[in-house]
Symmetry: C2
Amino acid sequence: MKNYKLVLGYDGTDFRGWQRQPDGRTVQGVLEEAVRKITGKKVVVHGAGRTDAGVHALGQVAGFRGAFKLSDEVLLRALNAVLPEDVRVFSLAEAPPEFHARKSARSKLYRYRIVLSPQPSPLDRRFVLHWPYPLEVGPMRAAARLFVRTADFTAFSSNRDRSPIRTVKRSGLLRSGDELVYTIESAGFLRYMVRTIVGTLLEVGRGRIAPARIEEIFRLRDRSLAGPTAAAKGLTLIRVDY
Amino acid sequence: MKNYKLVLGYDGTDFRGWQRQPDGRTVQGVLEEAVRKITGKKVVVHGAGRTDAGVHALGQVAGFRGAFKLSDEVLLRALNAVLPEDVRVFSLAEAPPEFHARKSARSKLYRYRIVLSPQPSPLDRRFVLHWPYPLEVGPMRAAARLFVRTADFTAFSSNRDRSPIRTVKRSGLLRSGDELVYTIESAGFLRYMVRTIVGTLLEVGRGRIAPARIEEIFRLRDRSLAGPTAAAKGLTLIRVDY
């Protein structure tokens, strides 16, 4: 039995997210189906991050176990031949027996793109949030930095069940031409956490939430005080480190 | 009667090219239909470049004449509200009466993207040619420069009717990471000219055509000596100058 580690990317537009569903096209679903088609065997593919519907990935990591007669290189080629073109496997290699894509992950890096121009490029339309309204970027950048901390992120997520304490190692907003690029890195994220932080930064940019209030929102643990959940399409899982 | 100049972009994937057709979705067709929906009037929209099926644009220029009661700003917003999201109008302004999007154009700049990595990003898949095979980039760069000239481009096009003499002002290949980006600028192009030049450069990269042979192919005016027409999806009209 080999333990496989895959690095993959996908255009999340036409997926109902990572996690397998009884109906509905999911990334986990098409990957498991691809392995079954090639090897005839049913496997469970674990993903480092269970991305939501519409969220993209350029460096998702996944893993599965199996005993197949194919070399890694042949299996990689076969997967890309069988998979739909909105999912691509960049690499496949044997991992140590204890490797688990989600549990072994030390940190994940997400990027969120916001295009400020009156009209976004039609070539980017699936991968960015289009925001053609005024924004004060300075306060947004200051607010972005305030998320670097070990804290209870209840207010900035739709978390219900799990422990709400997370450690964010990096949180920054850069302007590049007509685009704002938000980058966040953490060992783990709560549900909708990145998109709620982005939604909150947009409220800061509109002057509706002062950066100084972020502290209070953390403390009050009240989701309704943070901004709305920003659209999934702007979010991409960039990298997972082990 | 006002003469309008538009700058627009489109994802060419789901279009049968620029030019209106009895059946088949075209960029000219959806633009003319959008103007008709908004103003109730039939117009003819001229494009600077009649891009082929599958070719994209980030800086196509188009023009049409009409007398409408809407301000330019309102017309621009209405167009983007009515147009499908794979076409976006970036700007709209009144042009001098003599302005004609195609006839007045002084030069057009096209870019062709070739991705060399074993698997392309699924986010770029509609906009690049994927070429996961060995290529000698040095000879390709040398050959690319040989297209800067005033010459008969019959061998590098599917031209039949028009004068085959064209002046290419810029023709260069750059490597940027895993990607080759070919840029070409000319006052005018023959049918399939950019894609045939790219197809020829790929043959050079594969060692099948020596850069030194380009001169001979120009002279012999024989299409069969040049490379195949590269796929439309890698090509984007970047800019039109007047």
